[in-house]
């Protein structure tokens, strides 16, 4: 996996986890995307019943086809952009630090990191029907670093990850006492 452009792995460092939001949290975007795809079809039936002259005009029909095509292309592009922003939100846990990569928009990204030995407090939560069913939730980290609070959003099995981070932090503290 090419992560060199995001973080520089140290010689003694090993990547333990690369976390992303649970895939089920992207499902609402898929539903919205499918609903948006149906809009031109509804408009088409409206036009054929109310504005038959426009649909039969040899000049306006190509225009309508081009507008519909541009609309569908835009929808697909926005879907891909939404997916990219969703998928590029990642949390990289190594045996030395935790890196929070946040893709805010297509041309905006923030990267924050904290050494594991600086973690002071960690908690996890699962709230809601779907998070309980699909076992995903948030992990909250209090740190002594420049960024005092980290939140890992909507990750799978947050309880198990919390325990993993505690073990890694304990191990890392031995090298920094």
């Amino acid at each position: 996996m090419i992560l060199d452009s995001v973080i520089k792995i140290k010689s003694y460092e090993k990547i333990v986890h690369v976390l992303r939001r649970h895939g089920i949290t992207f499902f609402p975007y898929i539903v919205i995307f499918l609903a948006i795809l149906l809009i031109p079809i509804a408009v088409y039936y409206l036009f054929t019943s109310a504005f038959i002259g426009i649909m039969q005009n040899p000049a306006t029909l190509p225009l309508i086809i081009i507008v519909a095509s541009a609309y569908y292309m835009s929808t697909v592009l926005f879907f891909y952009s939404f997916f990219t922003e969703f998928y590029l939100d990642a949390w990289i846990i190594t045996n030395d630090r935790l890196v929070d990569v946040r893709q805010i928009s297509l041309f905006s990204r923030t990267v924050a990191e904290v050494d594991l030995y600086q973690i002071q407090d960690i908690s996890s939560e699962i709230h809601g029907f779907f998070p309980t069913i699909f076992n995903y939730g948030n992990i909250y980290l209090q740190t002594a670093g420049p960024v005092p609070k980290f939140i890992i959003h909507n990750v799978h099995r947050p309880d198990k990850l919390r325990e993993t981070i505690i073990e890694l932090a304990s191990e890392d503290k031995k090298h920094h006492t």
């Binding site: 000049a59 541009a70 297509l106």
Partner: protein, 89 residues
Amino acid sequence: MFTIPLYVILFIYLAYLIIVAGFTYVNFSHLFHSGAITIVSFSVTVLVGFLAVIIAYVSFVSLIGVDWQQPLTLWNNEWISNALNSSNF
């Protein structure tokens, strides 16, 4: 009356397709350079490419036989006068 030939709309559409292709490339480049090329992201990329090709193909087939030299009326003053004459005051 203000008219333009229909092929002007086609050129605008083609320019828009180039912009869409550019942004699609930017998206894929982000995924690639961030080390996020996985089965999931690759599948979504293939799906997006497939949908774009389908849309372009259907548009192309629908536009076969169109006379692109014909004029497209963008504005005609008679629209206003017809609308005023036909309204019931």
